[in-house]
Amino acid sequence: MLTCDKLLLTQDDFTLMADITFPAGKVTALIGPSGAGKSTLLAAITGFLAPAAGRVLWQGDDLTGLAPGARPISAIFQDNNLFPHLTIRQNVGLGLRPTLRLTRNELTQVEHALDAVGLSGLGSRKPGALSGGQQSRAALARVLLAQRPVVLLDEPFAALGPGLKDEMLDLVQATLGAAGRTLLMVTHDPSDAKRIADQAAFVGDGQVSAPISTDVFFRDPSPALAAYLG
């Protein structure tokens, strides 16, 4: 499981306290108003923000001092998930080998990952020649290939239309979820959480609540969540 052990995050005059665990192999949604610190928490887990205090642990191993690329974590950001000057095949291949020197065997794996997300035959195109939905699929293929057990999604697919977004969420569940990855998804849209999350946690007032089952989370909302949902 992924543990935030008395994690204290500060940025200017903003602070966030997180002392929670996310069970392995589950999809957890982090919900809350903008500015509440959802993305800050993800940044700390990914390694882009050094915590003021506390630790981040995966299966008991301390990750706190590790560089982002050395953590067992993949991420899909809101934007800039692909390098525009590299082909889709190269972009996906980066998940296997950051030096881009792929063996024949690894190239086959890349093609399999592209097949899995429905991008068969598009590997030699550049991201600019793909639609927004296809670009998201390419990013997903890379995460799939990277074989890192934890995947963080920061408002993923927010730029896509509602139909396309749901399609992508389903694909995430069918691929990453089925592969047993531990997923953490930041969203401000309750329907995203209801669609694929096993559990949900509320981020607000400088705190992260303990994750509880998504059904219960929405059926019996805490006062803060109720105020947010309106």
Binding site: Q11, D12, S39, T40, A43, T46, G47, F48, L49, A50, A67, P68, G69, A70, I73, S74, A75, F77, N80, N81, F83, P84, H85, L86, L94, G95, P98, T99, L100, K126, G128, A146
Partner: protein, 509 residues
Amino acid sequence: MAQRAVAIAPRWPGTAAAVLVLVLTIGTLAAVGWRAEWQRGLSPADWVVIRFTLHQALVSAMLSVVLAIPVARALARRQFAGRKVLVTLLGAPFLLPVIVAVIGLIAVFGRNGVVNTGLTWLGLPTVTIYGFHGVVLAHVFFNLPLAIRLILQGWLSIPAERFRLAASLNMPVGRLLEWPMLRNVVPGAFLVIFLICLTSFAVALTLGGGPRATTVELAIYQALRFDFDLGRAAMLAAIQFGLCAVAAALVWRVTSVDALGAGLDRVVQRWDLRWPLMDYLMIALVAVFLLMPLAMIIWRGVPGLALMPASIWAAAGRSVIVAACSALLCVTMALGLALRGGSLIAVVGVLPLAASGLVVGTGAFLLVYPVINPARLALPITILVNATLALPFALRAIAPSATAIQRDFARLGASLGLTGWAFVRIVVLPRIRRPLGFGAGLAAALSMGDLGVIALFAGEAEQTLPLAMFRLMGAFRMEAAAGAALLLLVLSFAAFWLCDQGGRADADL
């Protein structure tokens, strides 16, 4: 959301570049200060030199700016065939080797030049291009286009909506829109040009000289090369640095002008236009003034090519090597600095603007002279100095892209473990090719045409093409010099074009 900056590209190349720039600027300055023989004081002749330097820079800058204002206004509000070509042409003097331009100007304004031939034919007294007039003329030739570009940029930065509003209210455009803009832009342009004229060496070397037309830079060269008076050369270099530092500090305070600015190809729609004749006359005059010398370089150069001694080709080969090495070093330093970022970089990036080739050269001469015959280091030192002096321009071309790449892709790279050299190779270099090529082109062209530090160091065996050409002029072999000028012109523009195109070729982003 703000995140911790991830150090994703290697930092040491930027640090190394910063150290090199500091050694070449502050270090050589320290050498100059250490060897300067202040106790001798300034002779009356030194004061004449300082006065002349300031006087010619002041007059050159004033004339350039005053003449540029009506031309920039005409270009800002008139659309005509060839406007784009003319605006591009206004950027050309930046790449044009000074000594080549001087040959062109001599062909137009010199004793047997076009202008004097015409005057004689009309029975009027002839003009001379040597001395104060010639120095100012050459400086205006070089800096008028720069002034026009800077002021044109100011004009085009006035939002089109303001002109529309002014037209609908029948407001006086000049007083309400143009005058405030000029008050903002003109002092900066004036100071930049003043600084350039202050550090100009090759113009004074070829058109000045003698007791009444010697700049500080030229006096340094003479003290070092002819009198071998190191103490006096060092003292003059310290004075020159002082002058430049004051001027550069003023430039820094007053302006953030970007001489490479893009987007000059649009025209503001205006509703208050009368007198089109005046505008077109100004444009035509400037075009003739700029094109005549260039045309003469080609006209006189082609027959001169056959008269060039064989040593010219060897010198050209040296120039090409120096330019290539200097460009490579310059963009490497610029990229390292741009990726490293930080406040030190801002200082290192502008420091060379206040340094002049001759001051740096004198310092370097003083440093190496006790150890080794300076002529043996002529080419390596020229490469180093040229790369450093071109650094601010290359940095200006590269830095915005480098910042954008870090901003957009550092996070993705870091999360993939794509850091260090792999990040530079896979992400930075492919994405920065265009500005990198442009910056390399600038550095290569500037180095190709440089006649500064090389003149201090080189003997016969190390001369580059500009120096060989200068020596031909000194020997009054003007036809051969004209041929060499054409060769140098072609090499400089080819160097720029090759680098710039290299950056553009299939750079799909």
